[in-house]
């Protein structure tokens, strides 16, 4: 078991190196995508900061809470997809029969497939998340340690959700748009204060669009220095992740392959 795990870590390292090399063949494009994502996140944060100078409290949330929310969700999303870039394009890979490329190798399909792409823009998200939290919130060391843990939890949540939404393609066929919309909804709800939503909307945030595990528990955990809230966040993320993995492997039995011409890039 330990040897197997070690081998997968080596494989992850090799894929990350190769993925970076492939991206750095076009350094300008790689850097500009990363910077563009950093700026995109920053613009939203500036908008919120301007909002809070006018209305200092929004349903119990202050500007620091929203910065924390953006930092944890951006960093988590980036960590989920920077080295597991194929998670975002899973629906398309299934629809176009491109899982064939990974099925011919002697590795567990899902981790191997997810590792197959390094995405430039997501490094911009990670950079933004960590720098926004460090530069604007000025956390203590223990807060920062908790923040790191929470970004991992949110990364697990987003990765699991991308797998779950992408796996829909096994049942719906050409489902890229539906999967994208579902994922966009998750991203949108993950960047708004959870306190804005009440009643049935709250139910949605912990079931169909499980953004609550990113927009509520992590912020509360950092606000109250609570390991309990942090563990809720991780448990919710793990539940979504397990659901995604189960859906993928059940769906895989319906996989129909394809005959598209392609190259790996």
């Amino acid at each position: 078991m330990y040897k197997k795990l070690q081998s997968y870590f080596r494989l992850a390292g090799a894929y990350t190196v190769v993925g970076f090399k492939a991206n750095l063949e076009y350094r300008g494009a790689f850097l500009s995508q990363m910077i563009a994502m950093f700026l995109n996140d920053s613009v939203w944060l500036v908008f919120w900061i301007i909002f809070f100078t006018r209305f200092p409290i929004l349903k119990g949330w202050n500007v620091n809470d929203v910065i924390t929310l953006w930092a944890v969700s951006a960093a988590g999303f980036g960590m989920a997809h920077a080295c597991f870039g194929n998670a975002i394009s899973l629906a398309g890979l299934i629809t176009r029969g491109q899982l064939d490329n990974w099925l011919i190798y002697p590795r567990a399909l899902l981790p191997h497939l997810l590792l197959g792409k390094v995405t430039a823009t997501e490094w911009g998200d990670i950079l933004f998340g960590y720098s926004a939290y460090l530069l604007l919130v000025h956390p203590s060391l223990s807060d920062f340690a908790l923040f790191v843990f929470l970004t991992f939890a949110v990364a697990v949540l987003f990765l699991g959700f991308s797998i779950l939404s992408g796996s829909l393609a096994f049942w719906l066929g050409n489902a890229e748009n539906v999967c994208d919309q579902w994922r966009f909804a998750m991203i949108t709800f993950s960047t708004y204060p959870a306190s804005l939503f009440d009643g049935q909307a709250k139910l949605f945030l912990y079931t169909i669009i499980p953004a609550g595990f990113c927009s509520y528990f992590p912020v509360q955990a950092l606000k109250e220095n609570s390991l309990l809230y942090a563990s809720y966040s991780m448990l919710g993320a793990l539940a979504v992740f397990v659901l995604g993995v189960v859906a993928f492997y059940i769906g895989l039995r319906r996989y129909e392959s394809g005959n598209m011409l392609e190259m790996r890039s």
Binding site: A22, L99, L103, Y105, R107, S257, R264
Partner: protein, 323 residues
């Protein structure tokens, strides 16, 4: 020992038909109860027209697809339940899909594959260097794949598929799009590997030349069923002896009558002949054609595989003839 054993392997797909709300589901049979065995070390050409079920069969044998019914054993493994174990011992090349990274040199993909197949570093280096030498990769090993010619790319593809010393290699149209020289180089390499390392080769191709050069046995499938299973020698004798000659003349040619050549199309300045090379070889017929008038152009082609298969159907061969 058999490298491949198939017993009544069948694969069906559900296809939606119609439009709007009037849609119905129809079952399409892609592979219809194929049974065959391939001894270890044999090179087999698995041929058939588009949509015959070749790729679907290969995908089941490599564990990519699950069959609807029937069983298969590849190198002693059930391909879809023991996919990972089988993958350590098999190599796959899809002519239409690349396992090389497009923006990186082949060397980087080799390094990555060494990790994927868990090759010990020392063994990997020996094997890589040997493949570089045998496949003559050294001149472009550090050139990004996007800048390689198709022939160079396919040589690198096949070398990549042999990196982990597979016992069985599936080659799905490996010569597609290659020029005559690159095609022949690749065929020679495949033959060499089959001969020297005893690798079982399972080849699909639409090119009669690939089949003649590489395979010792040919299996023809159509509509998901085996319609012919025999040696390449038999097939060459029975079905691949025909050549199509298209000749264009500057002036109206003299009348022409050669034993074994049949005119299938004729205009004032050109004619198309079907030549039975077992009766009159090309080397005999072409000089005679040159004497008919001033030749502007001449092309010699194999008949389309579809025609060969149609010929097989019309012949007296019974389906599922065993090798």
């Amino acid at each position: 020992m058999n490298a491949v054993e198939l017993d009544q392997l069948k694969k069906t797909f559900q296809v939606k038909q119609g439009s709007g709300f009037k849609r119905s589901s129809k079952e399409i049979v892609a592979v219809d109860g194929i049974s065959l065995t391939v001894p270890a070390g044999q090179s087999v050409a698995f041929i058939g027209p588009n949509g015959a079920g070749k790729s679907t069969t290969i995908k089941m044998l490599t564990g990519i697809l699950r069959p609807s019914s029937g069983s298969a054993s590849v190198l002693g493994f059930n391909p879809w339940d023991q996919r990972s174990k089988l993958a350590f011992q098999m190599g796959v090349v899809f002519g239409q899909r690349s396992q090389l990274w497009y923006h990186l040199p082949p060397r980087d993909t080799f390094e990555l594959l060494a990790k994927v197949y868990e090759l010990p570093p020392a063994d990997y280096k020996i094997r890589r260097d040997m493949l570089i030498e045998r496949f003559k990769l050294s001149s472009f090993l550090n050139t990004p794949v996007r800048k390689l010619s198709l022939g160079q790319r396919m040589r690198a593809e096949i070398a990549a598929s042999l990196l982990h010393k597979p016992k069985l290699v599936f080659l799905d149209e490996p010569t597609i799009g290659l020029d005559v020289i690159a095609r022949q180089e690749l065929r020679d390499l495949i033959c060499e590997w089959n001969r020297d390392e005893g690798v079982t080769v399972f080849l699909t191709s639409h090119d009669a030349g690939d089949i003649e050069s590489v395979a010792e046995r040919v299996i023809v499938i159509n509509h998901g069923q085996v319609v012919l299973d025999g040696s390449v020698g038999e097939m060459r004798r029975d079905y691949l002896s025909a050549k199509l000659l298209t000749v264009a003349f500057h002036d109206r040619p003299a009348s022409f009558d050669v034993n074994g050549a049949k005119i299938i199309e004729r205009t004032d300045h050109s004619c198309k002949l079907e030549l039975d090379t077992s009766v009159s070889p090309v080397s005999v017929v072409v000089p005679q054609i040159m004497q008919l008038g001033e030749v502007a152009d001449i092309t010699i082609e194999d008949p389309p595989l579809e025609d060969v298969i149609a010929h097989i159907y019309s012949s007296k061969h019974s389906p599922q003839q065993r090798y």
